[in-house]
Amino acid sequence: MNFGNLMLTPTWTVLAASALALIGLVLWWLLRKRQQRVWLPTVRILRLEAHLLPQLVLRPPPLLAFLCFVVCALALLGLTLRPRTQIYTPFEPNQTHLHLFCDLSPSVSAQLGLEEYAERIAVLYDTLQKQGRVSLSTSHSPEVVQPKSADEVRQLVLQRGFHRSGLNLGNAMKELLKETTDIDRLFIVSDRDQHSWTGFNWRYLLEEMDVQFYDLSKEGRSGRSNIFINDARYLSTAEAQTMEWDVEIGRGGSSDDTSGTIEAVYMGRSLGSFAWRLPEGKQRLNVHLSWPVQAVAGVSAQDAQGIPLILRLHPGSGDGVALDDEFRTPLKGLKQDVILIGESSGERLLEDPAEQLEVALEIQGFRIKRYDFISGVGPKTLEAPLIVLLGGGGAGVDRFCPRSLATMRLAHQGDGRSLAGERLPKIWLAPQGEAADYRELCRCYTRLLLTPDAAAPEPSYCDSIESRSQWVGLLPSLGAKQVGGSVGNAAHTLAFHQRDQRSGLEILAFTVPLAPTPGSGINHAQMPILVKELIAWQGLTHGQGTQGGQWPRTGDIVQALWNHLPPLDAEALAQLRVSNVPLGESLLGEVDLQSLPPRWAAELRSSSKQLPSKKDREDPLPWLRLAAYLCIGAGFLEGIVALSVRLRSVLKAGVGVVLMLTLLHGGKAEARIEFNVLGSGLVEGTNFSTLAREVGRRTSIELAAKPELFTKLSPEALAEPWLWTSGSGAVANQSGELKTEVATWLRRGGFLIIEAPWQPLQLNKLTRPLNGSWQPLPPDHEVMRSFYLLDALPSCNGEIWRGYSFDGRLAILAVPYGFLDALKDHGAVPACKDPPDQERGTRVFINLIMVALATDYKRDQIHLPEILKRLR
């Protein structure tokens, strides 16, 4: 019997039927044995028809159970089916998808040249074209192309060439297979480079496709020897007259004696060529390069941005990968310019207010362009990243405050850059001396930053700035932010910082002279450090110091470039394309052949392993799921039917309906702790969402954000396990003692928390009906350590937390301030001399919850032996 391509297997059918029959027989026998038989002697006098076997009454089975049985029997029968004949899908080239993945990482370039690579790929393509539909992708990008001819393949490979970034084949395959899911045979064209193959579990792909490795590795040592530049470090200080670099040359593979030269090139200009020799057996060599600073004198740090220093290695021999012979690093040691405008009081250095500042700036590697005063609009302000204006000498604001800066600000109202794309300089405005004219400083400040247009008159408020304190008081009102000093005390402020949002111009207005004077509080030792800190804070450091090269060295092009989010801009892409070759690619480490996929042989023959096309294999999982759903549904229905048939009363039959409804519409069970506030302490609408979030985050307790408010004592309030109240009014009777119902509630386990205001005498009177005592909470109380370890509870105005112990537990807690008021959303700071912060309050609250839930469960220390055992 055939069902399409499936046929009934007689053997399995018989076995299945026999199994069903046997199961039925066993069930019948079990039922038969279970059937009760009672001896009734008077049966012997009956003259009914006599049967040897007991007479069973045949009843029709329940319909649903019968249907379920039929379905199961059919399912069992269906499982006995097998394909009538094994039909192999006839070869249709368009159905078999072969994909070539070309590894163009630097290590492959050590094995063969680009032309040879392209040629071999083209030949491979030609061979595979006969076996199916061939697609191609390279390690440059995840794009998959469908070449029409071998020439197209050749051109594609030649056009793309080897990239300088490393490659991780695992990541590449993962990304590739995300987009292309119908690959039947995958050919990985690569070498045996360890850096590329590390972490690639190609065997996982075998379930879906056939994986072949087209090995490009050269046999023998010739393909495994490479010399490369690993690192370059700048050694000179900022004031040095030569640029000293330490270049590390590494070797992978062979260990023969090798020599060569290394050339430093910047902006197409050779800075020097230096010989090196790598002795036999040595794998690393540090080469010292040096050239005078004058060689790059005309280049400023701003100009040097994005232009790397290229170190080119010219080894004599034994170099496999040519790409890593070129190493890029940002050029360090270029000085930045600072324009300093400040008039000297005299010829001597001590009379120059900017002397120490100049020294400090030079130490930081800045070149100072000093102007004693300016005339006209002032210097070109975009030349330097920092402009220092020392004013207040009394000679007028125009003498030191360049209008060009104001003009520049007014002209370029955009994103903080000039029209040419350059950033606006930072401005330091400092008094010339302690007796500076702060009115001039004020006028310069407003001119540079606040005036709406060039023709606007100077503001009149600057006329009243006569002293430093007034200057310090004015600046915050103009929108400047305090730098230095202490919060709330602007007297000791060093400077004020303000940034014009539209132009991006920043001014740091100092309140003291930038010179070591008694009045400024800056001494000679502090001066350079202060300047360095300010420069670093304002982001003016640029490639200073003896740090290593920071040019990108991409280990995996897939992570850096493929599907990068957000998409890389042109500058970043350009940098990636000329990134340094990663160390892994240069070392030319090899992976054992055993751990690589089966190799595609050079001669044209079929691969050793061929899997049938994926389309021939059906996924049984949907069928199994269907069978499982049928069985579960049948079982569920059987239960419903049994419940409704056997249960007699309608009420009981409804249980089944209720069960079904709960299964379908049941919600997640949850348990929450609620605030229960008695009295008028909190107003309606108060929320504790912040506190609830913190409690939920730190513990496993879910706290309701909205408290339950009870305006007066009621049975509903006394049904709660804990109550918060402000003062004792709500729980005390007219005589000041606890109300009877509250006392009963406390005896039954209630926990009462009384917030301020209260008096100790009031508390004593309150608890007279109970048999306990008020005590301050000792440091070893469970409130101190039930969750967080607290050294003390926050007191308020000399009043401490008091606890009333009753029945061996903390029954009433008196809090000396408005605890809930402080913890609620937008809570008020308690009116205490030293109010506790939110964090402390939260911790105390969490401890309180733990005590409320579990009292002093930790006191039994039942876990202590286990802890001591672990400590030992």
Binding site: W39, L40, T42, V43, R44, L46, A50, H51, L52, V57
Partner: protein, 317 residues
Amino acid sequence: MAEASPKDPATLAALHPARTREVQYRDYKNSLQLFGSQFMSLKRPTRLPEAGREYTPGDPVNLIDWKAYGRLGQLIVREVRDQSTSRVLIGVDVSATMQWPSSDVPQSVAATKAEVALRLALHLAHLHLRMGDLVEVWLLSDARAAYPEAVFKPRRGAEIIALYEHWVAQDCAVQAIRGEFQAAPWPQAKRDRVFWLGDALGGAKVADVLLMGKKSLFIHVLSSLELQIDWLQSSTSYFDQEAGRDLREYQGPVLKHPGNYLAQLTAWCDDWRLRLQRQGCDYVRLTETTQVASYLSSLEDFIQSSGAGPETGASRR
């Protein structure tokens, strides 16, 4: 069987051997005999041989016929005609079917058929002993036996009471009183009065036993569960297997079907009644739920009807 239900003192399940019906003045006034249950005529007593019997210890010495002793050398007691001792035979079937309801019966009853039969037998024995009759209680234990195999011959009512109390103390187990019964061959001599208590489901030859008596009564002891079958369940099958016969098993609904069990049981009981009536015997059907008063009435009817024997010509009261 489910746990035994409490015994209603008004039913046979709690029948005490010394239980009598209420004595009415009329009965006492009109009673014609003070000793012995057999009514005799008021004629002058004769010395017919059938009026004499062997002397048994305890008989009044003045009734000994010394002349007969001189002739025969045997002590013979001459009975006063108006005081004649009946010879009463009480046969009790306590075979397997009488031990029903068994433990597998889900319904509970106050007493098994064997317990009811023994209670009735002891009551009858005590009654007749009080009346001065000679009583033999025969016990049939083997379902396949035709006649009882053991006998107990009490002399005084106190023996009955003692036996009864011992039996009740042992939870009315037949084995408790089995020791009082002596094995004996079944007698051939006729008796004045024969009672048979059983369910007629065993192999006992009930009709033959009853024919031994001048006046006989078959007390057909059945269980209330046999007469009222509402307790039968549809999921249970009810069976019986007689020795030598095939297993009979029927489902509850089959038995409950009209025309099946109840109809056939009724017909069977009626058949017994008719058959015995043709033989001149009486028939009464009792269960453990029969009221004692009803039983006593039936018994009185029987005793009174048996008082007008053909040889005595005694008139009925």
